[in-house]
Subunit: 206 residues, 2 copies
Amino acid sequence: MDTKKKILDVALALFSEKGYGNVYVGQIAEGVGIKAPSLYKHYKSKQDIFNAILDEMRERYNQKAADLNMNGNDILMDSEVYKNASEDDLVKMGTGLFLFFLHDEYECKFRKMLTLEQFSDKELADLFSKQYFDDPLKYQSGMLQLLIMQGKLKGDDADIMALQFFSPIYLLMTVCDRQPRREKECLQKLEKHIRQFSRIYKGEDK
Amino acid sequence: MDTKKKILDVALALFSEKGYGNVYVGQIAEGVGIKAPSLYKHYKSKQDIFNAILDEMRERYNQKAADLNMNGNDILMDSEVYKNASEDDLVKMGTGLFLFFLHDEYECKFRKMLTLEQFSDKELADLFSKQYFDDPLKYQSGMLQLLIMQGKLKGDDADIMALQFFSPIYLLMTVCDRQPRREKECLQKLEKHIRQFSRIYKGEDK
DNA sequence: ATTGACGGCTAATTCAAATTAGCTTATAAT
DNA sequence: ATTATAAGCTAATTTGAATTAGCCGTCAAT
């Protein structure tokens, strides 16, 4: 198997739990199953490993974003979920997304790693906000806008609606990230939140 | 001035920006204006400094919590704000609270430090969730419950309402923590969120 | 005035982590 | 068959951070 790649995997796992400064190259090497000096056949420094992880993260993210733009809006909007847009469907979609981001190996570890490094560098701070705040809100705002235009939902500020839809989901995810044992509880809250959100914006509003 | 106390201040400032593992005792000493070995006249190790900060944080937090329980609910609920509970009043209160937590020196630094250490230790994870998720939600849920009973708001699940009220506020605060330049933008979003929340739960609901 | 503790300093010490040097083996291309 | 390269290893080396040792001045209490 590809040692160079495995180094990144192991390093990411460690960085995401302890943070860059608390991880030693010896630990990375041990996880890979080689000795520390051998790491330098593949990367020229510990920092270099970190940078490679960041590059990988950015690449995956851009890939996913491109996919969403190509397929996302059109397909999602034409899908049966949105044709009926029942409360149950929204819950199913929200829960699915939540569980994916919570459990997907890369999503989860990237998120934790960025969480731990977000204050150490302006570039990382910007990346964090983009990936876990601005982009999700932009995307969901677009979705809600569409649902409003289709008459499925009522509301006049899709941005704020997106904020109100997304924030609890994100917050619940951070709780699970640090206290995995609370996942069931968080899933229940998530469902209640989505149902309530859906009910609120279905009928009324000025 | 009290050196022992100043060490904690400087260390907290550093830990909250770089994380424990990336701070050197020499940096702490430099910030205090003494040499590194002199630190050991006051604390027996770097870890000991960290623990002292944690103790201080817990103490302040418990103090504040006690204050709130003594005065909080009664006084708040009898206050003019809640007598009228106009949308503007809610915005004013929400914004005030937001700015306090965002700018208060200790609140801000404790929050950032815990953010960076939350995965390193189960105890810290629990502390984080308690202070920035469970307790705020409990408190606000109680407030909302009262407002509902007084007929000021409509709704049947104060817990979920609290989640929907609190999550955007918290999320906006984390954005400001890592990108202070976005404070104005976040404050605008905060205001819109509170106004919308207030309007939603004022009249309707099933 | 003496004494002792408090808090500072410089100079060691210790220790561990990152990185480099240089040797070895396997394998794949010439 | 030879050779070059890739990728591993052990044994240094370097570095630098945490901590300890031991000295000194101040000041408050005896």
